[in-house]
Amino acid sequence: MSGPSGETVFAVEGVRFAYPGQPPCLDGVSFEVRGGERLALVGANGSGKSTLLHLLDGLYFPGEGRVAYLGRPLTEDALEETPFGPRFRQEVGFLFQSSDAQLFCPMVEDELAFGPLQMGWTQDEVLRRIEDTLALLEISRLRGRSPAGLSAGEKKRVALASLLVLSPSVLLLDEPTAGLDPRSQSLLLEILEALHARGLTLVTATHDLTLLPHLADRVIVLSEEHRLVADGAPERVLADTDLLLAVNLIHAHSHRHGRLVHSHPHQHVVAHEHVHDHGHTHED
């Protein structure tokens, strides 16, 4: 069912979504995701990035508008149909922000087996895939461990393994590097780059702009008013300081140079240069 590279995988059309009794957290959002693309959804906290990922995974359904996967609308009825429902769950993996929520089985091995067993695959096939996936992510030693006793980096790798074992063609990643130490973060980014090189479509929700060069070929920006306000290449989006300030992804930063208090927009991804009235230039 997964489409070839370049085909529209997800089509989001005029989506409006609100949690019960709350104002909308997505308002008239439209865009497309193409096969093999690396798309980042960026926005400040509460802008609706995670909710949008839940909609793409068919876990929530829009109040208005529609979300379609390979041309077929994602509705509760459609996801309960065979073969569309199981195939969608196999092809689209969702890495949750909280690994504790994602790892619900007593042992790492059971965690990896959960998805394939739900698909009705044979025991031999499931065991073979578990072995290969654990080896791929270099976590074979964790096979008999309880997820509760793992470090944050190990949990994230097990969570990713529990998706990869299903051989998905799309990965939805919700703040994938949140709470990881630098080594775990770097390892995860390497794995994701390798997966993308294999042709996987990656859709990542993040508010960490430093990740964009590693995770995205295209960026969609959500405003604090929950609307899509920009869609383009990472370099173009990151260069638009006014936009980033307006959506609260960078901030006006003040600091002192001697007795002089100095303000400028500040972000941690693109070095900026400025000249001070006492003569020297520095990068921040």
Partner: protein, 308 residues
């Protein structure tokens, strides 16, 4: 730049007030710590290299054997058959290499707790019988339609009733522990499911087994966060009130976590039925285990009837 208020500088103190006593908070900290240690014992990481043969048996066979013997133990009335049942269970636990750190707490806590509950049963006013030790004498008389006893004493019959209950609960707890210590939680749950226990019940047990540790850590973090901001002892009553409020906060987190776990399961194709890796299959040794358990149960019942 934001101007900070004058009082927000190192060493600044408000004028007036009284010096607080340092906070203790030991009760809650100890309780949470003890719960954490108990849970760590419950959630076993792996079988280890010396796993006994009993671990390899079909979980359904073990479940049926253990439940059958627990039912037999509840019917036993004699001290000797109960002691034999407990002795056999302990011997089997040692043979199955159940670690002492799991066995000992049960062998200490269960008899003590059941003995405490059965203390009233040792008295003549509850169980009757001839007094062995008089605790105090009363003036007798009557309270409305009820006649008051002239003495309150520990009786032989009362000791027998209490002793029987202590032995019975210890034997049942040891059997349950033997089952839990030789069966992986997931296999145990799969066994329950294949024996016809409803899916919803099994799922609740599975989630409880997985998330108790997460929720306990959440409670410990709440407690530590409060401890970090506490400068004065607040007394047991306010400590209890805080603990009650903390339960509410943990409950809210539990609900949020439960919602997220459900979504994570659905996202990976869950449709309501748990499917197991390496589902257990009945083998000859499993039938043998069932037959031995049935024979032991029958022998204990016969011994009990003969001694009665």
């Amino acid at each position: 730049m934001t101007a900070l208020p004058e009082w927000l500088r190192p060493g600044a103190r408000p004028s007036g007030g009284v010096s607080p006593r340092p906070a203790a908070h030991r009760l809650l900290r100890r309780t949470l710590g003890a719960m954490g240690r108990s849970l760590a014992l419950l959630v076993r990481e792996d079988d280890g290299p010396n796993a006994g043969a009993l671990r390899a048996a079909d979980p359904r066979a073990k479940l049926l054997a253990a439940v059958g013997l627990i039912v037999v133990a509840t019917f036993l009335r004699g001290m000797l058959p109960l002691a034999v049942c407990l002795g056999l269970t302990l011997a089997l636990s040692v043979a199955a290499r159940v670690p002492g750190r799991r066995l000992l707490p049960v062998l200490i806590a269960v008899p003590l707790a059941s003995a405490a509950l059965m203390l009233p049963a040792t008295l003549n006013v509850v169980s009757g019988g001839s007094p062995l030790l008089v605790l105090w004498r009363t003036a007798g008389g009557a309270l409305g339609p009820w006649r008051l006893p002239e003495i309150v004493a520990i009786t032989g019959d009362g000791l027998l009733v209490a002793g029987r209950m202590v032995l019975r609960t210890t034997a049942c707890a040891a059997l349950a522990l033997l089952l839990a210590a030789t069966t992986r939680p997931q296999q145990l749950l799969g066994g329950l499911r294949s024996l016809g226990v409803p899916q919803a019940f099994v799922m609740v047990l599975a989630m409880a087994e997985r998330y108790l540790a997460v929720l306990l850590r959440s409670a410990q973090e709440l407690h530590l966060a409060r401890l970090a901001r506490s400068v004065a002892a607040i007394g047991v009553r306010r400590e209890e009130a805080w603990a009650a409020a903390g339960v509410g906060a943990v409950f809210r987190r539990t609900r949020a976590l439960a919602d997220e776990v459900t979504l994570a399961m659905v996202s990976r194709g869950f449709t309501g039925e748990v499917r197991l890796l390496r589902p257990a299959r009945w083998q000859r040794k499993d039938w043998l285990l069932m037959a031995v358990a049935a024979a032991v149960g029958a022998a204990l019942l016969i011994l009990d009837r003969r001694l009665a």
